[in-house]
């Protein structure tokens, strides 16, 4: 590649994931490594990568056991890929596998590697339970104690209360509020109605069910542990059923203002997803298709700790900056994927994009205008599919690349076919990405 040209674009060649399970459901006994291995093996089989030495593999999980310090490399060693394929772990909360796609795509674009896999996984069923800090410190001292009296003294210092296990929760460490409680505050601030949220949830289930019917996932999913479809998908749900559910978040905010239910909030999930990336040449040499190219990506973060912005509003900053840099507007996109952490995240993010005062004063860019709902999450999103934190970005990239490729084939002489992704994440973060059909 000539050194004075702009970097080449990484190609999305294909993807594979396992169906996403509900917490405590089909994958109750599967570990992160098990699921990542299953998704990776499916990808290797689908693209005949047995024995291939790939440039790099990036993966990650949000809730991770300390024994899984080298999880992705372990998954590679457990797969049919060449054992000479290196791998590394990444964590950016719910944006983890959008970040791994970015990392692998950037290495390809810079010419450092010509092929790679980006992946993500999470299990809420096999979440690490840890011992209390006091017990942990005592056990560490115990392992270093040299004499029996020293050891006995340490053992005697353990109190019954120290033995209580500590389970991870989804509360923000600095605020103690769960994501749902945070988003309830944002929902109230943007005056998002219950009906609008339920509409998003209903569309997610209908669109995902339709996508399965249309065979969209035939080449994107490998069944695992008896699951062939996402366990949270309810193709028979209805506006009436969703309207019956009681609010679960924001109940302390005042009479009748709580609107977020189990139906319009993402369920806790288990699952893994992978994406195969490479150069156009690498794909061509192996007779593999190129579905789309990674155009650009942007991460953003907001100050939610001091209440200056809603926890999950990062997408309201990442997307305008990304579009501005690429001189694009919302109308330039045939598909827009906004991760449904909650139905209201989609609504508050798009409301912010359209709000001139917000955009000018907070983002410092002109408003993006109204989003055309017909291009939003057309194959369903996290409300219906589930949301294993680390796997969601790779799920969306895999699905979107296929949608883009199909749209391009249906109008081959048209202009560029583009897709936009926005994924909000814990810590007030978000990751956004632009893909373009090849």
């Amino acid at each position: 590649m000539p050194s004075n040209s702009s970097p080449r674009r990484a190609a999305v060649i294909g993807s594979n994931r396992i169906p996403f399970g509900k917490a405590g459901g089909a994958y109750a006994n599967a570990t992160n490594l098990d699921m990542l291995g299953a998704a990776l093996s499916g990808l290797v089989a689908r693209f005949q990568l047995q024995g291939e030495r790939l440039g790099d593999v990036a993966g990650g999980a949000v809730l991770k056991h300390s024994r899984d310090f080298n999880m992705t490399r372990e998954a590679v060693l457990g797969s049919a890929l060449s054992p000479q394929t290196p791998a590394f772990d990444v964590q950016r909360a719910c944006g983890t596998s959008l970040e791994t796609v970015t990392a692998i795509a950037n290495k390809i674009a810079l010419g450092q590697i010509d092929s790679g896999i980006a992946a993500g996984v999470d299990s809420t069923s096999d979440a690490p339970i840890v011992v209390s800090d006091r017990l942990r410190r005592t056990l560490i001292k115990l392992s270093r104690a040299k004499t029996l009296p020293d050891r006995l003294k340490l053992v005697a210092s353990i109190r019954p209360g120290d033995l209580a296990p500590v389970a991870p929760d989804v509360a923000e460490p600095r605020t103690g509020l769960s994501m749902g409680e945070h988003q309830a505050l944002t929902t109230l601030k943007w005056k998002i109605t219950r009906e609008a949220q339920d509409e998003i949830a209903l569309a997610s289930h209908k669109n995902l069910a339709q996508a399965y019917e249309d065979g969209l996932f035939d080449d994107l999913i490998t069944p695992y542990r008896g699951l062939v479809r996402d366990e949270s998908l309810r193709s028979d749900t209805s506006a009436e059923k969703l309207a019956k559910l009681k609010p679960v978040f924001g109940k302390g905010l005042g009479e009748g203002v709580a609107t977020m239910t189990a139906g319009n909030s993402t369920p806790l999930s288990d699952g893994a997803a992978t994406v195969l990336l490479g150069t156009d040449e690498w794909a061509a040499e192996r007779g593999l298709p190129v579905l789309a190219h990674v155009v650009d990506a942007e991460a953003a973060a907001v100050d939610f700790v001091r209440g200056e912005e809603g926890l999950l509003m990062g997408g309201a900053y990442a997307v305008p900056r990304l579009l501005h840099r690429n001189k694009l507007v919302l109308a330039d996109f045939d598909f827009i994927e906004i991760h449904e952490a909650f139905a209201s995240t989609v609504l508050t993010t798009t409301a912010a994009w359209a709000d001139e005062k917000f955009m000018v004063s907070k983002v410092g860019l002109p408003p993006l205008g109204r989003l055309n709902p017909a291009v939003l999450n057309v194959a369903g999103s996290s409300l219906a599919a589930g949301h294993p934190f680390g796997a969601t970005g790779a799920r969306i990239v895999g699905t979107l690349a296929t949608l883009l490729s199909r749209a391009k084939q249906s109008r081959p002489d048209g202009g560029p076919v583009r897709g936009l992704i926005s994924v909000c994440a814990a810590g007030g973060q978000a990751v956004a990405m632009i893909l373009e059909a090849a």
Partner: protein, 306 residues
Amino acid sequence: MSARREQILPEVPSLTSLYGQAVARSARLMVRRPGPIVARLPEIAYRVDDVRVDQSQLAAYQHLLGEAGTDTLPAGYVHVLGFPVAMAVMAREDFPLPLMGMVHVANHVEQRHPVHAQDVLTVRAWAQNLRAHRSGTQVDLVTEVGQADGLDVLWRGVSTYLAKGKPLKGLALVEAADGSRPAGGRDPEAPLPAVTANWKLGASTGRRYADVSGDRNPIHLTSLSAKLFGFSKAIAHGMYTASRALAAVGPARGDTFAWDVEFAKPVLLPGQVALNLTPTEGGTDYLGWDPRSGKVHFSGSVRPLP
């Protein structure tokens, strides 16, 4: 102001033995009615030199309060370092108010320069400004922390305590000119702001702060020991709540700042505290309240030093 004699203590006194002395003194006062108490503060300042930071206590403090694990002391930790010296002043036989019955009502800290974990420090503490208040007698305990070899005060804290009951005789009633709440106080009728954080405080909160601060006042430890002093349950240390609010403000506070808090209703343990942080011109205001009753526990601010 009268000239204060300075007395050098060989080391930072132990809070546990000070509390022991204080409890014994309260008991003695109950048995043997003293003569008329003189409404005068001891004209003495205690000084301790060569004060060093216990690194493991600092780390435990930082972890418990949610402060970054840096080598710069959190302003609340400097308070912990100097508090026993101020306590020693209050535990003196000639201190006119009963230590065990006093309520911490407000605290003002000026972090004038950063204090580092390796600094060898000098702590000075004295009492001043004894004054009558609507519901008793108030006094300010001033603590100054500086580098042992320097004259500059790095950190200065003023803790205001109230001894409830009839004001001591011969003191002027010091109140705001219009008789309203003190400057910086919050209108109790104002609506509560949005929640920015929610603290779930377990029954052991007081014991855990006692572990890192050394402040084992029985009202904070167990509900049984708190009952002896008229509380229905153990209450959180006021400085624990204020220091957590300071930690929540985070690096936005800068290296030097003024940190104020006024304590209202005590936080009963176990319990929850809703916290609001509101960025202001150059600083942050904070408010903590009971999310169930809406009653305010504390309010305060972190501002740049003037």
